[in-house]
Point group: C2
């Protein structure tokens, strides 16, 4: 009986393919084993289980996602950087919904702490906001606004929640424009009368 040549890396790559075509919720140890022509139990010598596999997938996809965004924003700043960031973001989410969903998986703190991709994503977002010169806590609030809007849009688009006639990419571009306007005119802290 020849060996199938399984490794954690190959298993994660197979998981990426599976998630890309079938969706994150269809990811299973069984399905991967079938793909390798191997019994389910064989995979457990390489990964600890489904939770471990999902964590590895999340770390892998976050790194890929952060890379694409990093390339897009390289050498740009201000409105240009924001547009490039947003373009790369939606492009990834639309063309690889399963991978994008993986980047948003909830992870155990120790896994998250050891994921360069997740750290890079946060870092890219903070750098993006530098030209807007927001003092804390406004900077953090603005980061959270951007993350929320981008992720929310991607999530809603992925579940088919936008039904109006308006083309979705046009809305996206307009929203990015609006966010730029907002960041350049960030409202002052409200005072209590």
């Amino acid at each position: 009986m020849p060996r199938a040549g399984l490794t954690p890396q190959r298993i994660v790559e197979a998981a990426v393919d599976l998630v890309d075509t079938a969706g994150l919720d269809r990811l299973s140890v069984s399905a991967l084993a079938r793909g390798f022509g191997v019994k389910d139990a064989s995979l457990y010598s390489h990964i600890r289980g489904l939770a471990d596999l999902r964590a590895r997938l999340a770390v892998h996809c976050a790194a890929e996602f952060a890379d694409r965004i990093g390339s897009a924003v390289a050498g740009r700043s201000g409105r240009d950087a924001l547009a490039a960031f947003a373009g790369a973001y939606r492009d990834y989410a639309v063309s690889h919904p399963g991978r994008y969903a993986a980047t948003q998986l909830e992870l155990p703190p120790e896994v998250l702490a050891g994921s360069p991709g997740h750290a890079a994503l946060v870092e890219h977002t903070y750098l993006l906001l530098r030209p807007y010169a927001l003092a804390e806590p406004d900077g953090t609030d603005a980061v959270r606004l951007l993350r929320s809007t981008f992720h929310g849009f991607a999530a809603l688009e992925a579940t088919g929640a936008f039904h109006a006639a308006r083309e979705v990419p046009a809305s996206w571009n307009r929203i990015v424009e609006a966010l730029h306007t907002l960041l350049t005119n960030w409202p002052p802290t409200p005072t209590h009368p």
Copy 2:
């Protein structure tokens, strides 16, 4: 053998409780049957299956969610209405994460079309934007912005994605303020040079 008194309504109510305490991903026909002290197969006389149960749950929770938002915005408009909408939105998402997640489930078109709660949620959002007097397609873009930001924030908060020291509710309030500013100064359609 006395009957357990199952009905679709009671099953959906049990599903609401389960989802509230265990999370949407733990919802299963088996767990509900255990709760009723009944065999799995018994539930299939009342619901078609798990997909049907999830759809009913989504419709139920969307109606509840829309009600709360409707009560919150009643008699208000402009900034007040936006703040009330946002407050009710986050309150529901934070205090009932499982129910909120259910309102965001992807549904077959015919189910969605027959869900008053989902329709009311969209309607509330459009009404909210009336005072800002945005012509189409700006109105649709603004609706999509609000939905994206609110849902994205709720989703990220639910997965524990906000790690900065800044208190999450403070960010939420600030973001709502910022959105009000943005809606009152919606940028003009960019012209191509």
